[in-house]
Each structure stands twice: as structure tokens, then as C-alpha cells.
Symmetry: C2
Subunit: 590 residues, 2 copies
Amino acid sequence: MTDYVAPLRDIEFVLTELVDLTEVAALPGFEEATPDLVSAVLEEAAKVAQQVLAPLNQTGDRQGAQWNDGVVTTAEGWIDAYRTFIEGGWNSLAFDPEFGGQGLPWLVSTAVQEMWHASNMAFSLCPMLTQGAVEAIQDHGSEELKARFLPKMVSGEWTGTMNLTEPQAGSDLSAVRTKAVPENDYYRLFGQKIFITYGDHDLTENIVHLVLARLPDAPEGVKGISLFVVPKFNVVADGALGERNDVRCVSIEHKLGIHASPTCVLSFGDSDGAVGYLVGDANRGLEYMFTMMNLARHAVGLEGLAIGERAYQQAREYAKERVQGRPIGAAERMPIVHHPDVRRMLMTMKSQVEAMRALAYFWAAWFDKASHNSDDTKRFEQLRVVELLTPVVKGWCTEVGNDVASLGVQVHGGMGYIEETGAAQHFRDARVTTIYEGTTGIQANDLVGRKLLRDGGKAACLMIEQMQATVAELDQDSPLTAGLQNGVTDLRAATEWILEVAEGDPRLPAAAAVYYMHLWGVVAGGWLMAQAAQVAQRRLKQGEGDSGFYIAKIQTARYYADHILSRSVSLRQAIVNGSESIMAVDVEHL
Amino acid sequence: MTDYVAPLRDIEFVLTELVDLTEVAALPGFEEATPDLVSAVLEEAAKVAQQVLAPLNQTGDRQGAQWNDGVVTTAEGWIDAYRTFIEGGWNSLAFDPEFGGQGLPWLVSTAVQEMWHASNMAFSLCPMLTQGAVEAIQDHGSEELKARFLPKMVSGEWTGTMNLTEPQAGSDLSAVRTKAVPENDYYRLFGQKIFITYGDHDLTENIVHLVLARLPDAPEGVKGISLFVVPKFNVVADGALGERNDVRCVSIEHKLGIHASPTCVLSFGDSDGAVGYLVGDANRGLEYMFTMMNLARHAVGLEGLAIGERAYQQAREYAKERVQGRPIGAAERMPIVHHPDVRRMLMTMKSQVEAMRALAYFWAAWFDKASHNSDDTKRFEQLRVVELLTPVVKGWCTEVGNDVASLGVQVHGGMGYIEETGAAQHFRDARVTTIYEGTTGIQANDLVGRKLLRDGGKAACLMIEQMQATVAELDQDSPLTAGLQNGVTDLRAATEWILEVAEGDPRLPAAAAVYYMHLWGVVAGGWLMAQAAQVAQRRLKQGEGDSGFYIAKIQTARYYADHILSRSVSLRQAIVNGSESIMAVDVEHL
């Protein structure tokens, strides 16, 4: 496996030249995020990613997490790496200073998280899940719950988990059956949860489980689900650990990838019931989950980008070294990077990785604005854009991340199929990202059902107008401009079609949803790539150094327009013509 | 893992109603292939696939082949299954009766092979490689070599391997370094070969290696490579086994998939040199390899189809059983097959599996015609079409097979990522098919360089005219017709563009090649799907039974037109607009 090198130059380009970190840092509460501090943070994070996490990625995959009699052991080196990670303060980067966090913008945390996922996705799932649990308690827990759990979760001394899924309740959480029975000022939980990431491990002395369950008198369906905190070890008043709670890891899954991340079956209440504390109000658990969903889904979208970057780096280095065949017009055998089809694969990887990064960081910048803008009207508008783009970042970046990882295998030829090479691990690891935290289909339905149709297309049209405005600013003779214009036209047409047909038959938009999500990703990505080319052109005109870097940015944007944006017309056709034929065949003739 | 059920009705539809088995059976030499016999063969093959091979697929994956001190042991049950396989005469189906084969058309063998690959791809690689070795000896070996080796290879008592790749010589065989030194009436071989499928195993008493090597005085490059037969055990004059030859399995690879198929590193001549026999003339080894390439590449294309079928069956059964969520308009929770996006995934799988089957069987029918037609002019024309389509069958069916297997994982949601489910195995197994027997890039370059440009587009235009003729026969108001017409127009335009630009810059067609290959697959598949719909319409008019089956064929063809053929316009754009931007970025800025 090739070493991971954090792409700091590209990251800083997006942060400071494309999505405007300065504007974010000017928001109230982000005063500390000066350019110097951010640069220092990124450089330090790169070191940890490169030197501590990346070297454990392949060994972690080979060893996997181990389960033995209810106890999970992580792979060799994991405990030390985790200690280094929390001692460096990396767990608390974007959290509230009130509980020990550093209060940096989400945009900065996004860049740092990209490096964690790229260097070692299986490892970084642990802090990623803790992050979700911290938000749940922070946003909805009582002051007492916050005081008791948050400081150690923010520091990373304790980790957090999210317990949603049950065997019969996957995408459909209305079917959750785990019970919570009131007793004094707490509850006793009984039930089984599956697919619990880092549900048990040996990295920390305690684990705080966030658990969806039903009260005895709860109504059926989604409106009868409550959220509970269930610590592995009970926490006594002064914060010290009490006795072992009645929750056990029954087994861990044997998965296609992320072997080093234990995926647990947790059993609550095998003896007297697991002690749990209600978060917020009863029966509002699912609603609370939804408030955390933006960040959680964005984080998984980042995984798609990150695995894509890692797979790209590895394929590129291999292609530069592997001598095979004589390229057309060349006198002798050369590295395969000079073969047109290998170059096509690398450019397909590179251009999409850059588009994913631009989109994921753009989202983060707008998320910061939507949470810190002092102007409420603007804030709400920004929030609408963020919410529109959340399923696109999650759905599109993970689908593209998979494609990129698969191309990474392909560039390696036969060596790509050999596990030792490491390309196959990225391919296996990436495969989960389109599934967990809501499958691609769930993201697409969220985009169409909740984000597009509910506001009658307002947020979508706002974005489309912005894209159209960018087209107007571009060189009108450039193929890049033509490519973007076609993409925007297709996106607009598909949007109008969905808004039009939805009333007649709500199954049509649902059938077209995944294509529509891809169309958003392809076009929004192209829009940001065109802006990157604009910036680069400006820098070149200003005669700034690093001209090779900026020229490549323009060429990559052009590649994206020719090869990726060109997909928009087919997506539009599949949406407009294809939605009717989806349900036509009888189930018995499938 | 769901049981495999051979799709006999679909197979017979393609054989007898779409690609015209009767016409093939009427060719000289195929008199035995009566409809009754073929039906009986297919039914028996289905039993072996379902009852003998399929049950070993997942256990074989878990156990894998094992290497111990130079000896490879296959997974549990493999030896018995192989015995059943050869005792049933399955190894000899399409081989020459002169050496004990049954001389059935390749079309029939194709249908049978689909079942082997679908039920157990790792197993069926063994007879697939034997097939290649048999052809090499049969087409190019001396009478003595044939008499000594073929009968036992045709029966399957001995298996065969193909030894091409060396660490420095993968796609580029000009770099082969293995040496062959003449000695008496044989040669002594020295060198190392990698990626040798079933290079060692415990299924048979002997293994016959076909090995590319250089004579001491051979010219450099591809014109200095000769082909040798190197048996694991020498064969004495009366056919009995002699002493162990100097070839050893040094190690086997730890691969992403097909774990039960041993991928060996073979070392020739560690002590006194491995005894080998020259096949045909010296220095013509690569040329001989090329003559076998059509069948070998078609066989790997079949793997793409087969894994797709298997993954589809498994996803469909899961979708019918898994209850989750309330579909739009439904009163209660239902199986996920009723959710539009799940249906979209299943239809994308189903329609492409049917298109792949139609294309792969069409190829086989034309291969039979091209080898048995008594009219030489027709035969050569048919051979040109076969050769044009070989890289399409290999390249497109394997790429689509991967996509279909990935959708199979996706339909399963979280369960798809758990190895126990079995969907992930298809995904892992399929991944090698776009790599071995020539990567997708190699196929695409073959299509453009050797098959399109060399004859100035004659064979391609012949096919395109046939497609256009089909369009003219279809109902001109149907969306299916419009879809096919668009596809044919795009294919024609891309073909003309490539023919036009090739002279100016030969790198442009090379850059566009993979898109062009996809375009061929998408459109040729759509052409055959439209014909299937035509046949179905005719049957319905004739009032034949099984109307549900025929209605579904029409609906599936319509789905394919809306969802798959609609990709042709984007592919055309990427070819025509995109080829220039591929090589633009400097290697140092990748």
C-alpha cells in the first residue's frame, strides 16, 4: 500500500480560494480561526494522518477487530493511535468550548476529517460516531446529562455509539421494538440492536450508547420512539465509573471491508435491564435523530471523497512506476501513466475527487454560515441550501467514491486484485458508504421528497440560479462553459419535470430520485469546478507563482466538463422518459 | 446465499427464439444438436449446476485453496464435484469428436457454461482454462502432441493451464523472459510465471501447462515468443505418467475474490529445467495465443453475465422477502420489491442481464456459423462480425457484471455488506473479470485498433446497418423504437468520428476506446432487446400461452431503452468532445 500524503495544497485551495474560509472565520464565534491557526491545524493533522493512522490501515484490515466472550479487542497499534489522537485534542476540534471543545468552524473540521478517513477509515469511524453522540446529548439532553457525559466524550476519553437498527428495523425505524421501562429517575432497556459501529472496544474505559427505544405506553410507529443514553459503565454523581451496565456485545460481523471497525450486535437487558437516561422529551427520539442527520450524512459523504483521494494517490503512484507497453508514438516501453486509457482513468478519478472535495467543503462553509450567521433571514436561506445538498453530498460522494476506488483497482491490473497491493481494501472499505447512514435510495428520496417537493423547489431554484449566474460570468466560447450550461439546463428541466408530475403520481419522482441525486452531484460538482477554473485563470493573470498548479486546475475542470458533466443529458432522459417503465413488470415475472 | 436456479426458460428463449439454434444446428457437423438433445443437455447441466456446484460456492470462498510446501489443496467437496463433472461428460461438450469430444455447437456450450459460472465461478475456471489449453494443442500442435495429450484433457482427466504473465510482462507480453533451451526432441524451460489459474491442485493426476517462452536465439519482442507444452508429470510413450517435471508452485495469491480458484506462481526449471514440447513453429507463440483469444474472451464475458444473473437472483429473492417501510400509496409495510428505487435497481440488473445473455449467445451463434458455414464468403463475413464483437462481449459484459453485482449488494442494504449473506462474494468474484484475459482498456483498444480501424469500419458498418434495418421494422410510434434509433445514431456518429480523426492523431481513438466499447455494448444489447420484444409481440399475437412471460419481455426491453440506451448520447459526447482533454494535464500535476 502506498503511503498516504495529505493533499494540503488542494485542501487549502478549496478552503481559501474556492469556498472562502475568511468569510466563515468572520462569523461570530469563529474569531479564533485565523489563517495561520488553520494552516497550523491542517499541517499537524496531516502529520497524525500520515504517521500515526495511515500505517495502521492495512494491518488493521488484515487483523480486524476480534470478539471473544463478549469483549472486543481492536487491532494492533489501535490503542496507542487512539491515545495519540485524543491527546492531540483532535476529538474536540469542532465541539462547543463550554464542554471542552475548540469551537473551530465545521469547514476546518471537514478538512481535518478528510485526512482521518483517507488515512484510516476504519479507525476514524470511532471519533465519527462519538461526534454524533455528542451532538445528540448537546442539542437535546438535560443540563445534568450534559454535565455528566459531555466533557469526557468531547475529549475522547469516552466514545459514543448510535443504536438505531434492529433486525426488522433498518431503513424503516418505525419498526423499532427495543423497550424502555421507567424506574425511579431512569429507565431499564431491553432489546437487541445490530450494526453498532464500535459498539464495544478496548480503546477507552467507557462507551456511551445512544439508543432508540419505546416506552411501554408509546404510540406505534415513528412517533413512539424515544432516545436514551445507556453507558457501558454507569457513571456515579462525581463522574467516576460505577458498575457494569446490563448491555453486552453478543457478536461482531464478518464484513466485506472496514474489518478493523467492530460492527456489533448489542444486547440490552439480558438480566435486570440496562440503565438508561431519557434524552429530551419522550417520543421525540426520531425527531432528534433528524437534527443530527445533516452532519452525520455529510461525514459519510466525506468518506467517499477521502477513500477516493486515497485510491487515486495509490493508482497514480503505481501508474507512474509500472512500465508496460509502448504508448502510441513512443520509442520504448514507458510507465503506464502515458497510455491514454490509463490517463483517462486517472483523470476520471482526479477530477471527481476534486469535485467531491469542492462540494463537501462548500456544504461545510454554508453549514457554518447557517449556524452562525447573525442575520436570521440569510441564516434560514443558507440552512435550506445546506439541507438540500446534504443528501447530495452523502449520496453522490459515496457513489462516486466507490467508482473511483474501483478504477483504482483497475489501474493496477492484475495486481489490483491481490490483497497485498492495498487497492482492493479501498474498494471493499468504500462499499459500505452507500449503505450506512441511509442508503443511496434513502438519500435520493430525502432529496426529492423532503428537500425539493416540500418547499416547491425554492431552495433548488435558488441554487440553479446561482449556477446560471456563474455560466454568465464564464468565457462564452469555452467548451467548459458549454458543458456547464448543458448541465444546468438538464438539471433545471429535470427539476421542473419532477415538480410537475409529483402531484399526479408521487411514485414517479420516487422512481427518478437516484438519477436526480446523481444529476445534482454531477452539475453542482461541475459548477464548483468551473469556479475553480475561474479562480485559477485570475491567479494566472495576476502572474502569481505556482502556475503549473493553476493550469492543471483549468485542465481538470475542462476534463470534468467533457467527461462527467456530459452524463447530465442521459440522466435527464432517464428521469423524464424512464420513470414509468420502472414498476411495469409484474413481481412474479422479475 | 440464495440457491441458484438455472434460468432455463430465459436461456431457451434466447437460444431458440432470438439467436436461432435451428439455423446453427443445420450447419455441417452439428447434426446431432437436435432440439430434444439440446433441451436434455440444458436440463441435466442445470441439475449439476444447482445440486453439485452451487452448494460449494460459499464454502469454497470461505476456505479458499490452500498452499503447503509446493502443493495446492482445493476446498472441501471440490474433488468429488470435479469427478461428477467429468464423469457426466461436461468437460468435452464442444470439443472435437476425434479426441473424445461431443462436437456440440459453441452456442449450446455457451448456455451450459453460463450455468457453471453462475453456480460456482471459482470452480468453473478450471475447465475454462483446460478448454484454452485444448484449443492451443488442437489448433497448433503436432499429431504426436495431440495424441499424447488431448484425449485426457478433453475428458478432463487432466486439466490445462495458460502461462503467459511474468512479473514484468502483464498486458505487454513482448517482455516475456522465460527461456526454452533445446535438448534432444524437447526443450528445457527456465523462468517464473505468475497469475496461473489452477496452476496446481489436487483434482487430477496430471496438469498440462501451456507456456510462453523464448528460444536462445529468438528475436526480441513479440516475434520471439514460442509456445510449449509442459506437463506436471512427464508422459511416457504409452500415455502412462512418468517422472515429476521440474515445475513447482511456489505460492498462491491472497485475492479479493475467487478464493477457491488457486492463482499460482509457477517456477520452471529450479533444478535441471522443465521438459517442454514446442507447439507448432518456433517464434509463433503469440500468434497462436491470438487464435484462441476469441473463445477465451467470450468465456470471460460469459462470467460477467453469469455473476450478474446470480447476483440478480439473490437480490430479487431478498427484495421479495424483506419487509421494510410502507411504499407510497400502500396501507402497510411491504416487501422492499414494491419500493420504486428497489425496483429500479432490480430492473437495471434484470434488463442488463438479459441484454448480456442475448449478446453473448448471439456471438456464439455467429461463431458457430463462422466456423462451420460451407459458404466461404459468408463465413469470412461472419468471422469479421465475431471478431468485432469479441472485445465488446468481454469488455462490456464484465463491466456490466460488476455493476450488477454491486447493485445486488445495494439491494440488500446493510446485510449486503455482511459476508455471510453472499451478495458480497459475487461483488468480489466479479471484480477480476474486467482485469484478466485482457483488461477493459485492452479490449477497447482491440475493438478500435484492430477491429474498427484495420478494416476501415467495414464490419462495424455492416452491424450498424443491420441495427438500422431492425429499427425500420419496429413500431415507429413506440418509445422503444425511438430509444434504439437514438442509440444507433450515436453509435454511427461515434464510429464516423473515430474513423475520421484516427489518421490525424492515433491517440484520440485510443483515448475514446473504452467509451466506444461501452457504446457498442449498450446499443448492440438494445438492438437484441428490441428483437426480443418483436418476437414476444409476435407470440402474443399468435395467442401462444405463457403470455405473462412475453409481456415481461416487452416491458423489460422498454425499460432497457429508457434507462440503458439513454446512456448512448453521453458516451457519444465523451468520445467526440472528451478525447483531447485526457492527456492535457502534466504528469507532475496529476
